[in-house]
Symmetry: C3
Subunit: 215 residues, 3 copies
């Protein structure tokens, strides 16, 4: 049990670090100052989790009370600032790190809700919210069209990851590696949808098919 | 008592369905994909109620834990997708359904806060918040100027509905049909303000009277 | 103890009044109607505090349950409407009142978290959040680039104020005038950064140094 908890703390901290990098890159590209980079990183990395903790009654939220999260954010922001050249070698670092954070948080968010005794629906919905919440706030603050509104598969990938984790737990077939599989599928789905331009059906008039771009 | 509870569950679910339609229409007009439509519908329909539940200590929030809400959202989104032509016959379906949802949520939100033992001020403020919260988030996510900032009567209509409901409860004159009357007045006020261009006074310089339009 | 509580209630209500003025001025400049001005004022003044109270488990949040806050907001909005000419004599009233509110809320927010028995990290983070939360929401609703993303020292000033207050409390050297000193340093830092264009380092490419302006 203690081991399982450490596993999910590890998942959660990894997600925090990775999401914080995506936030720091986005903030740096907007030329924010040191504190602006830290603030955006913190919101992206911990925002979704704080909302989740408030909804499941985990007061005070871990993102505020446990210094590990703050340390992960600071480390990620400094890593980004110092190693920006390396980070920028990836074709689109915000999208890449965002995808990995999405998978980690979908799984760890769902599991945390389960471990507080809530039902499967709460767990799945809060897994998705933890995963997409921080990124939505990042995009709103930076006045970009939220990723969740783009045509590629985004929140649906988080949904798949959360459902796999919750279903395995509830059916009693969860193994120590279940969360990694769920996470891997979620990240893979997201990255492949970017690579191969997969998307869910839309229903608009053909004449105005194009999604409106930046505001 | 049980009957009263069912009445407010009915009001709340109706508001959820109606607001979800307004969200689905707005999302569809932006050509979002299937999941994007579901996500926006859910946020519009359940966002305000989740914030209200967190503020009154109803953990986990009903919008997350009670599958009826999710079912209402899915039903509304599918209805909108399948019956889009019928929905579009209304001159401005987002505004119409938004107005009805506003009335339903102002009343049911205020009543839920009262039933958790909070005072009249909490009930009125949370009634208004439940009613306007989801729509504000919808407009922020879709990068539109929030309806609450338009010149017509919007949040003030929600305030009137919530005050009528809370006052009748507190003065002990509430009848089974009180919530319907409160809701009817709120919706009527909103729709008539749209129809007849009613608005509250502004205080700007005459020279720059026009409200700034879309971003 | 009771005296200390009154001190922080006073700080909190002053911050509410001052932030509400900054919200009312911003809303009035956008020509919102009476209720729009009240709504924006309320969100700016009480939004951050409500999030803080939810995070520390103070249910229902004081901003909703204690009529003093609502009264302070209404008074501030009416003051702004009636005395707009006087208020406009300040070169930039939104920035000025925002700075004072920042200092008041950084200190009172941190102290409230401490008084609910949370640790120093929670207190500092929630002090900053209380201070910057309302202003961020104001700017998002009015579709402006949030102040926190500008180059001047903003959230960092709130951080300094919250850290001074929490450190003095924790080291047992807090005096009755400690909060005023913490607040004064925070406001001074913010105003001087505006006056002398102080800013924290950025790390962008020199070629694209300019922060992108309004959307």
């Amino acid at each position: 049990m203690g081991e399982e908890r450490s596993l999910f703390l590890l998942l959660d901290l990894s997600g925090t670090f990775i999401f914080a990098i995506s936030g720091a890159v986005a903030a740096k590209e907007r030329n924010l100052d040191l504190f602006g980079i830290l603030a955006i990183s913190f919101v992206v990395a911990c925002g979704g989790g704080i909302v989740r903790d408030v909804c499941i009654g985990a007061i005070p939220p871990a993102g505020l009370a446990n210094w590990n999260y703050l340390a992960a954010v600071v480390a990620a922001a400094l890593t980004t600032i110092v190693g920006y050249r390396q980070v920028r070698r990836f074709r689109n670092p915000v999208l890449l790190f965002d995808a990995i954070g999405l998978g980690l948080f979908a799984v760890s968010g769902a599991q945390k809700a389960l471990s507080y005794g809530h039902n499967a629906e709460v767990a799945v919905l809060l897994g998705v919210l933890t995963a997409v919440g921080g990124g939505v706030v990042r995009d709103v603050l930076l006045v970009r069209v939220p990723l969740i509104l783009q045509r590629e598969i985004y929140a649906s990938a988080a949904l798949v990851g959360a459902v796999i984790q919750v279903a395995c737990e509830r059916l009693g077939v969860a193994k120590p590696w279940t969360p990694w599989v769920a996470m891997f599928i979620c990240v893979g789905l997201r990255l492949m949808s970017l690579r191969f331009k997969w998307h869910l059906p839309t229903f608009g008039d053909r004449s105005k098919r194009k999604i409106s771009s930046d505001p």
